[in-house]
Structures are given as structure tokens and as C-alpha cells.
């Protein structure tokens, strides 16, 4: 039992991974082999980066002990900012930079207000969810601006790889996943994030600038969400002001299904990715298995509750073990 507890704390994403493999096998059988064919996989991998990048940001922020509900709105505001600027003649790279800066600023505001006034990030970012969504509609003037024709789609959305299996966005996603994962596990900053979320009084007593660590995580989360929104807009070809609605809750679901603790300190980037993949696989697999697609949200909801109950149970067991020792 002690072993299991330890494995769980070291690899909290393990349970999600096992579930993912089981579901893939189930859907492969139920869909008579359609699930894992190249066309279907291409479809799943093409949209995975968008939700995946948001989940990475939300997971890291959750490990630091905070929460962001505004990711879905930033997901829409960032590409809308870019589109409006490009309509006014800004070149793509500058518009991209401006969009990322707007995202970073929103993350900073989320973090600063949460820490300065010591209020729950749930509330700060709930407010930001409405404000950023409102701004998105306001700057678009009610009509989505037309995107210029000469966008660098080759860099973000074109299909590449053997059999054109991936979109470029997947490579961005993979690179960011590897970098953030290394940041969390191999750098001193990653150590500070885990310490801040794991037990803030101890982290602060050891001289870690916990406020700054959290603000950086808020900013990272917003920037990744904004970037993901841009990927979706480039894929769809139009900056709709309504994209990303409901995404914040799916990202939280991804993180906890992947083993991150809502209380902070526990979780991995890989877990967030596994959680997102699981959601995409369920979405796609239900359709292929001819199950009423309206069961999708039920499945995600069930899985989320199940994951958190399992986490709570493991923690209780862990406590019992400490008593014995």
C-alpha cells in the first residue's frame, strides 16, 4: 500500500493513462477498427493541441495552488486582438506579439489581484472570464473581422509528417509540452512551483518568492491559452468571438483526470495532456461507436468526479499509512 501511495504521488497521471489505453481498446473494438485508422487519428490529433495547450497551463497553475476560469475567454480575446490589429494593417508577427502581450497582461492581473487582495483565484478569474469575453465582442464590433489571406498557415496549421498525420500545431504543442514538463521536473523554478502549491508556509519560510511564482504561473497559463486560441482561429479561418466557451471547465477536468490535485502541489504536465486526450478520445469514440453524442458531457462529468474521489481516497489512505509508521 505504501508503494502504491508513493507511485501515485510520483506518477499521479498513471491512473489516467491506464484508463486511456483501456478506452482506446474499447473504442477500437466497438467501432470495428475505425477508431485507430489514419483519417480518424488525424482528426483527433488536429484539434488536440488547442485544448491540450490550455490544459498544460491550467495544470501548472493548479500545481502552484491556483485556479484559472478565464482561459476560455483569453482563448477568444487573443486571436480577436490579432485579427483587429491585422485589419488595421499590422503585420502578422507584430500582431502575434501584441496578442501574446495582452494574454500575459490578463494573467498578470489575475495573479496580482488574487495575491494582493488575498481572494480566491476562483473569483478573480470568474470575473475575468466575463470581462475578457466582453472585451472580445467589443473589440470585434460585433462582426468578426476578415483575416488577411497571407497568413503563415504553413507554420501553424498545415499538415506535415508521414501520411500528413500531424498539423504543425501538433509540433508546437509537443515542443511546449516537453519544455514545460522539463521546467516543472528539472529546473529550480519547477521546484518552487511544487513547493508553493504543496505547502506555501514552508516555501515562504525557505525564501521562495511565492507571490512571484504564482503570478508567473498565471501569466504562463494565459499566454498558452491565448496561443491555443490563435491556433484554433487559424484552423477555422475566422476569429469567432464565441470560441473557447466552456473550455475552462474542460481544462480543469483534464488536469484533475490527469491526477493534479485541486489543493496544489501534485500533478504533471503529462497528466494534463493525458486528461485532454482522454476527453477527446471519449468525444470521438462515442460518435464512432454510434452512441448518442449527448452522452459526451455525462462521461466527462462522471470521469471528473471519479478522478477526484479516487484522489481523495488515496490521500486518506496515505494519511493512515503515516499514522502506522
Amino acid at each position: 500500500m505504501k508503494r502504491l501511495f508513493k507511485t501515485y504521488l510520483e506518477k499521479p497521471e498513471l491512473a489516467g493513462l491506464i484508463l486511456l489505453v483501456l478506452l482506446i481498446i474499447l473504442f477500437q473494438v466497438r467501432s470495428h477498427g475505425v477508431f485507430l485508422n489514419a483519417d480518424n487519428l488525424r482528426g483527433i490529433l488536429g484539434i488536440l493541441p488547442e485544448a491540450g495547450l490550455v490544459a498544460i497551463g491550467v495544470t501548472i497553475l493548479m500545481i502552484s495552488g491556483e485556479f484559472d476560469l478565464s482561459v476560455g475567454s483569453v482563448f477568444a480575446l487573443m486571436p480577436m486582438t490579432m485579427a483587429v490589429l491585422m485589419v488595421h494593417g499590422w503585420p502578422f508577427p507584430l500582431a502575434l506579439l501584441a496578442g501574446l502581450l495582452v494574454s500575459a497582461a490578463i494573467g498578470f492581473i489575475n495573479g496580482y489581484i488574487t495575491i494582493r487582495f488575498a481572494i480566491p483565484s476562483f473569483i478573480t478569474t470568474l470575473g475575468m472570464l466575463f470581462m475578457a469575453r466582453s472585451l472580445t465582442v467589443v473589440v470585434s464590433g460585433g462582426f468578426p473581422p476578415l483575416l488577411p489571406a497571407d497568413l503563415p498557415n504553413w507554420l501553424f496549421t498545415s499538415f506535415v509528417g508521414p501520411g500528413n498525420m500531424f498539423r504543425m500545431s501538433f509540433l508546437w504543442f509537443a515542443a511546449i509540452a516537453v519544455l514545460t514538463s522539463l521546467m516543472l521536473s528539472r529546473t529550480n523554478f519547477g521546484n518552487w512551483i511544487k513547493a508553493t502549491g504543496g505547502f506555501m508556509p514552508a516555501a515562504a519560510a525557505m525564501g521562495i518568492p511565492t507571490a512571484r511564482v504564482k503570478i508567473v504561473c498565471f501569466m504562463l497559463c494565459s499566454v498558452l491559452s491565448g496561443f491555443a486560441g490563435m491556433l484554433q482561429v487559424l484552423r477555422l479561418g475566422s476569429p469567432l468571438p464565441s470560441i473557447g466557451e466552456g473550455m475552462e471547465l474542460q481544462a480543469v477536468a483534464s488536469a484533475v483526470i490527469g491526477g493534479a490535485s485541486l489543493l496544489g502541489g501534485i500533478g504533471t504536465v503529462m497528466g494534463g495532456i493525458i486528461g485532454t486526450t482522454l476527453i477527446r478520445v471519449i468525444d470521438n469514440g462515442l460518435v464512432l461507436s454510434h452512441v448518442d453524442a449527448n452522452w459526451f458531457k455525462f462521461a466527462i462529468g462522471f470521469l471528473t468526479i471519479f478522478a477526484v474521489v479516487a484522489n481523495a481516497w488515496m490521500r486518506k489512505r496515505a494519511k493512515a499509512i503515516k499514522m502506522e509508521g
Binding site: 508513493k6 529550480n188 519547477g190 521546484n191 505547502f199
Partner: protein, 243 residues
Amino acid sequence: MSDAIISVRDLHKWYSGVHALKGVTLDFKRGEALGLVGDNGAGKSTLINILSGVHRADHGEIKVEGKAVSIATPRDAMDLGIETIYQYNSMVPTMSIARNLFIGREPTRFSVLGVGILDQKKMAEESVRAIANVDLHLRSPDALVGELSGGQRQGVAIARAMHFKSKVMILDEPTNHLSVKETNKVIGFVRGLKEQGVTGVFISHNMHHVFECCDRIVAMARGEIVLDKRIGDTSIDEVHGVL
């Protein structure tokens, strides 16, 4: 007083109108184990919080090894060689022993603006040595602190302070919530500090624990020092009498 490692002179602290520290003057001598006792609200936590950089004094002077210093953050205190071990435990339970030992002071292979790649090999090697040095027997530095008992955690905290060559170790109620056996272990750690030339400041409600491991006892009441004697020159009854 040339043998004082920390001297505080006329330290005052007000908390929203409450005069918590009323002109405390005290020398912490090199290599001694000093017991700091007093009731809740006597000012001992306030004094310790000022020395460890959690709060700042409103008035007064602090000298470390004869030099006037300003301790604004916990990091300042650590850089001066003052390490504090709190009763609520200064460890992160969800992280390994090796990671806990180096929180905030991680060795990096290279770094840009203070952020860099962890030198995990060095962390593993040094944490094994640090733990062995305080005579703590643990299976592996990769064990999670959450798996350790309260006494073992205090042991790791002390190992950490020793490893970073702290000169003064402040232990704030380190024996709270510990079993008798574990308490003895912690008292053993405090005794061990002396051999390593480290000044220990041991804060406790339990007079017996203080008399067991300290050379000198300082009692505080209502923000002032009311007794300061060698352990041999006083008794538990006398200390209780002044509190």
C-alpha cells in the same frame, strides 16, 4: 561581548497598537544552546519572527557577529546563517527529501536570471551526506517527506540547516505533537548542535525539554525578558515563578 553571535539591542515591536516587544536586549552566545520560554503572547514568537525575517522590528538594533544588519526577508536571515525550524514544519510533504533539502537553494548546472537546470546528481549525493551527518537513518533521499514521522521531519529540517552551514538554528516548538521517543530524538539533535559549533535557540512550552538540552534559559513575559540564567543556577520552579 565578543563571543556574541547575535546581539539585539532595545528591540520594539507594535502590532496594531499592541506593544508586543518592549525593548528586548539579549546576546546569543556562540555555540550555546539557549532555551527561550514564556507563555503565549509573551513575545518569544515576535522576537524569533524578527530574527528570521518574517517581521521587522519597529525600533532597535540587531548585530550578527558584531556587524549591524537589516533582516527584511527569510532569505536575508538564511544568508546571515540564521535558520529557523517551525513547529508547523518547514517541509513540503508532497516533495522528496532531496528536493526539500534544497528548496530555494537548489544547486543548478547553469542558470539565467536565477532560473536554471537542477543538478540532481549533486542534490542526491549531498542529501545522503546531510542526512547521515545528523545521524538520521532513512532509506532513500527520494522518499517523500509526507511518509516521514514528525520527528524524522524535524531531523531532515535540522539536516538542512546543518548542510547550509547555519550558525544559529532557531527551533520553534520543535517537540510539539511528537511522541516521547521522537521528542528524545529531537532533544538529541539539539544537544548535537553544540558539538558542531552551532548556536541553538530552543523555544518550548515544555520546561523539562528545555532543561534537558539547554545551557542557558531566557524567560519572557509581557514583551520583556524576566529571567536570564545558566541552567545550573536556576530551577524549573524558579522559572515558573517569574512567568
